[in-house]
């Protein structure tokens, strides 16, 4: 198997805080890679760097050998890598369909053929299971619905690599089970996936491989079963609680936007 996405000693510092610290990772073609770690491990930050939302302090991320890090988010999307948000952020005053159309119109890499946007968008909604909601506002959907919408929008950009940030978090068992099947099907469509998850059974059941971050460093990597038994990982999870650490990267990002 060839690696489609490669991270070379990626680092992201906010002031003194090393949110991500020299992390190497790779994602093989058609693979589902689980990315886990306690709060403040720097998972989301790593996503943001990989998706080009924020530039890395050092290191780089390559998609098929082409650099995607340090560019603006929209460029990365056009190169075929798309991320979803932990807290869903749909365009509240656009219909579900229009939400998807945004991704389809503007996210597609130049080489991906368009076809009739509405048909494509409908297909995606069918596939994701929101077809009957096409004309509604995101606000009228359930949380599960909005999470699906988040994924649908990302799919509409015709990505080759999909970065899913806690898509099943907050869903009831039934809903999350459905969503996990969905993710498998997505992989079935030849899209490689990295997923951040706190819901362990989800990661363990779905991932081919798992990377564990703690305090910005990669502390373990391997098959679900391997990492699950890795003492370092267990220590990291039970050892400390860094809720406060979690705050700062967020805070720092806030400032950057402001």
């Amino acid at each position: 198997m060839t690696a489609i996405l490669v991270g070379e000693s990626v680092s992201k510092h906010f002031g003194g805080l090393k949110a991500v610290d020299r992390v190497d990772f790779h994602l093989d073609d058609g693979e589902i890679l689980g990315l886990i770690g306690p709060n403040g491990a720097g998972k989301t930050t790593l996503f943001s760097v990989a998706a080009g939302s924020i530039p890395p302090t050092a290191g780089r991320v390559l998609l098929d050998g082409r650099q995607v890090s340090g560019k603006s988010a929209h460029r990365s999307v056009h190169l075929g890598i798309c991320r979803t948000h932990q807290i869903v952020r749909p365009f509240a005053r656009l219909t579900v369909l229009d939400n998807v159309l945004v991704g389809h119109h503007y996210g597609r890499p130049a080489n991906v053929p368009g076809g009739d946007p509405h048909r494509v968008a409908r297909e995606i909604l069918d596939f994701i299971g929101l077809a009957d909601r096409a004309g509604r506002l995101p606000g009228e959907l359930t949380l599960a619905g909005r999470k699906r919408l988040e994924v649908a929008r990302a799919l509409a950009t015709g990505p080759r690599v999909l970065l899913l940030d806690e898509v099943v978090a907050g869903l009831n068992p039934v809903e999350s089970a459905r969503l996990l099947d969905l993710i498998r099907e997505i992989r079935g469509r030849g899209i490689s996936i990295i997923m951040i998850e706190h819901v362990m059974h989800a990661v363990m059941s779905l991932s081919d491989r798992v990377v564990v971050l703690d305090l910005g460093r990669k502390i373990a990597e391997g098959t679900p079963s391997e990492v699950a038994t890795d003492p370092v990982v267990i220590e990291a999870y039970l050892g400390r609680d860094e809720d406060d650490v979690q705050r700062q990267p967020g805070g720092a990002e806030e400032q950057q936007r402001a």
């Binding site: 798309c82 365009f91 509240a92 005053r93 229009d98 909601r133 606000g139």
Partner: protein, 373 residues
């Protein structure tokens, strides 16, 4: 799809495929409207004064629409559009005075200069959002006004510039040029709103980062919109110069001028096409009415209007219209009701997939209620 020009030039009989976002009926209605307004003064017995004021109103409508592209579509409230209005006006006036260029060339040139000036300060400041951007625009506007007033070499300083009388078109003729200005503005507005670009702009307005994560190049689109907006407002400035035949920096660049654009758009319904235009009409009518009668009350009236609109009907006249139509059983698509845009999805509805249209309970949500600190 075929180009708008062809679409326009297609006479009766000729079949032309129009873009999804441009239904034939809209095009026809548009053409008809322009034609009617074009012919109106030739047949109707309107007083010359009214005639002229209507011409001026056309220009204000165009300007309000142009402001709306930035303020309404992208959600960047500019308190500094007077800077472009003035720039356009003075460049145009200068070109007419010193080079004796034909007025419309001068207008376009003025507009382009204004557009470029807008880009000059806009490109960096558009990274800011919400109040930050608004504050920046206030700074730009005021700084521009002061410099312009001081730069008597170009603007004639405090004594302004007077155009040679009888040079350009008369106020009477300007009616039609105002109409063309408006037509262009409406056309652009429709394009910016209903074509896919509209989708991108709205996405940017709703959540700039999320838009970026879906591949929307926010910077580029905001720049394009600001440039168009600045250019259009600049051309309006040129028109104004020709209309008044005397312009002076204190008036052209005044803060109140910037405000008037905002008022028009907000009164009519920020982010809507007909709204902004209607707002301009209301604005002018109010002024014309109060002018003769209660001139000492007009400030307060605008103030009250602003307050009421923001509190009770953030969509302004458009919102009111929606409410009224609801009384008569009209069920707007939820996104319209929420002040969203009825975009490419029009095409879908046309394709008969309107099953879910409007069944949802429509709660009138103020634009951006979703926003969280």
């Amino acid at each position: 799809m075929t180009s708008p020009e062809r679409a326009l030039s297609s006479g009766a009989g000729v079949r032309v495929r129009l873009p999804v976002w441009l239904p034939g009926r809209i095009l026809v209605a548009f053409a008809a409207g322009v034609a009617l307004l074009w012919a109106a003064p030739l047949v109707l017995p309107v007083g010359e004064y009214t005639h002229n004021v209507v011409g001026l109103t056309f220009m204000f409508m165009a300007a309000a629409l142009a402001w709306n592209w930035l303020g309404g579509y992208v959600g960047q409230i500019s308190f500094g559009h007077a800077a472009m209005f003035g720039a356009g006006g003075f460049v145009a006036a200068r070109l007419m005075l010193t080079l004796g260029l034909p007025f419309w060339v001068a207008w376009l040139a003025g507009g382009l200069v204004a557009g470029c000036y807008a880009l000059l300060w806009g490109h960096p400041t558009l990274r800011l959002r919400g109040p930050y951007f608004s504050i920046a625009t206030i700074g730009v506007g005021e700084a521009t006004r002061l410099v312009a007033t001081y730069w008597s070499g170009f603007t004639g300083g405090s004594s302004g510039l007077s155009l040679p009388l009888g040079g350009g078109p008369t106020k009477f003729q300007l009616y039609w040029y105002g109409l063309y200005l408006l037509a262009v503005a409406v056309g652009l507005s429709y394009w910016l709103r209903k074509s896919r670009i509209g989708l991108a702009l709205f996405a940017i307005k709703e959540d700039v980062e999320a838009a970026g994560d879906l591949g929307v190049d926010a910077t580029r689109y905001q720049d394009v919109v600001l440039f168009l907006s600045g250019t259009m407002v600049g051309v309006c400035g040129g028109f104004y110069a020709s209309y008044q035949t005397f312009i002076d920096p204190q008036d052209m660049f005044s803060f109140d001028r910037s405000i008037s654009f905002i008022l028009m758009a907000v009164i009519g319904g920020i982010g809507t096409i007909l709204g902004a235009a209607a707002g301009a009409i209301v604005f002018v009518v109010i002024q014309e009415f109060l002018l003769a009668n209660y001139s000492q009350l007009y400030l307060g009236l605008y103030g009250t209007l602003l307050v009421l609109i923001i509190l009770f009907e953030p969509l302004g006249l458009t919102g009111l219209l929606i409410r009224v139509r609801k009384l008569f059983g009209y069920r707007p698509r939820p996104d319209i009701a929420a002040g969203g845009l009825k975009s490419a999805a029009v095409g879908v509805d046309a394709r008969g997939s309107t099953a879910d249209q409007g069944v949802a309970p429509v709660e009138q949500s103020a634009p951006g209620e979703r926003g969280s600190a």
